[in-house]
């Protein structure tokens, strides 16, 4: 286990054993074979620090917070030590022209090899004027920076699927990275915010194997997004027994029963919260008593209300009154037409005579 990265870590007081243990744990979380942990450690220790450009678009910085303030800063932070983060507005000391210069230097020096991390969605409305950096719209910036990228990692639901900016009525015309970039490998790490270990896992995979991990149909790493929250939820047995909390403070809620009826989107949400948990494995939304919001799924904000059970439709009686009125109007109209027809037939009645019985 030799190389620039491990040297740096050791200098910072992280032992090789700590690093190895971390890699083994990460490999286990990513469902890689046990031996991969060691290989990962070897490879990452020796990895050349790839240049990474982090582009913040229409975002709230929650994703950055999630990753940089994760509970074990030394461990997650290590990964950032494995990369050369050449441009990150929130974290970088430089500003203004200096920052822009750093960006362009990184792009020029590592053309075709750098990684781009994007958080935030890209507004298309008003020619992208809703979000500009240094006078350049997000759209232009993404296209320009994306051109020389080896791969793009879309962090957070906004970058992955448009997220909250794209929520109905989407005033800025927000779209996701994959809506714009079609010719580069893109990994989506959705979540609002995403789980930090997923981010580091993807970077570790890239550093170890020089490739992106296996993705699902929505561009998410299968290792973390392969199963639903519901599949791995510790409250699942209550669902199967039909034991549901009806309110957030009833007996069922106290007993830790299933939160399906309180709007939990676990059954339709793919994420690793139930296994990886949050805050260094302390807890996660369902364990803290609140249903899953489904934040790692596209358009979760518009999926019919956070507190409406999945089996309950958003607003099915929206047109009920109007439909009944139109139906009644149509019915009455047909009734009048029918009565007129019947009346006409009656007044045209010719009394049948014996002769009429013959054709």
């Amino acid at each position: 286990m030799q190389g620039p990265l491990i040297d740096t870590l050791v200098r910072q007081g992280v032992s090789r054993r700590t690093f190895l243990k971390y890699c083994m744990t990460l490999a286990s979380m990513m469902a890689l074979p046990p031996a991969a942990g060691l290989a990962m450690a070897e490879a990452m220790a020796a990895a050349r620090r790839p240049s990474v450009i982090w582009l913040p678009f229409q975002e709230c910085t929650g994703c950055t917070e999630s990753i940089t303030r994760s509970h074990s800063p030394t461990l997650e932070g290590m990964i950032f030590d494995m990369i050369s983060l050449d441009y990150q507005e929130t974290l970088m000391a430089a500003a203004g022209f200096q920052a822009e210069e750093a960006l362009h230097n990184a792009m020029r020096d590592n053309a075709g090899k750098y990684l781009v991390i994007v958080d935030g969605s890209i507004p298309l409305g008003q020619d992208g004027a809703y979000s500009c950096i240094g006078g350049q719209s997000n759209l232009e910036m993404l296209k320009e920076v994306g051109k020389g990228a080896a791969a793009i990692i879309a962090v957070g639901t906004c970058a992955s699927y448009g997220g909250i900016p794209k929520a109905n009525p989407n005033p800025t015309g927000a779209v996701s990275v994959s809506d714009i970039i079609k010719d580069k490998p893109i990994v989506n790490i959705p979540g609002c915010p995403p789980i930090p270990v997923v981010m580091t896992g993807v970077l570790a995979h890239y550093l170890t194997f020089g490739s992106l991990p296996e993705l699902d149909a929505k561009g998410r790493p299968r290792a973390f997004f392969g199963e639903t929250i519901h599949d791995r939820c510790y409250r699942r047995p209550f669902y199967d027994q039909g034991k549901f909390a009806k309110t957030f403070d009833d007996e069922g809620a106290r007993r830790g029963w299933c939160l399906f009826e309180l709007g939990c989107k676990g059954p339709v949400t793919h994420n690793a919260c139930a296994t990886v948990k949050w805050n260094g494995g302390t807890s996660w939304p369902v364990e803290s008593g609140h249903g899953c919001l489904g934040c790692s799924e596209p358009d979760f904000w518009d999926a019919g209300g956070f507190y409406k059970p999945l089996s309950v439709p958003a607003d099915p009686l929206k047109f009920a009154a109007a439909a009944s009125v139109v139906g009644a109007a149509a019915g009455v109209a047909v009734s009048f037409a029918n009565r007129a027809r019947k009346g006409a037939a009656k007044s045209a009645h010719e009394t049948t005579t014996l002769a009429d019985l013959e054709k």
Partner: protein
Amino acid sequence: MTLDAIPIHVVNQSPGEPGLTGNAPPLLRELAEQVKRLLESGEPSAIDLSALPLTPVDLDWLRDKLGSGEISVTLQAGGESTLNETACPGVWWVTHRNEQGAVTAQFIEVAWVPELVKAHPQDVAIGQEQLELLISDL
């Protein structure tokens, strides 16, 4: 209330002790295979227990069968890790915990000594420097 207090009904029961899924016994055969490989070629291997559908009862059963051996290693590196040799020498029960004490990964390793226990030459070199420093101070 703690999670343990929630009664969980395990549907998939095999005859015998409640909670046993029957997924544990085959692991013993796999371990035997791995031990054989270690003896023949010196190649270490491991089973990632968190990747397998094992209930706590399964794990208890497995640990009970494998027993405890002569060596217990406790490692303080980003949380505590325990690497305990089982009654079968060369088979190690490895549990990694994070700083909060939550289990993050659990393996059964088959190795002369688990990789994590070995001191790395470069760490040893640092140790050497340290020693020399100590000697020079004498």
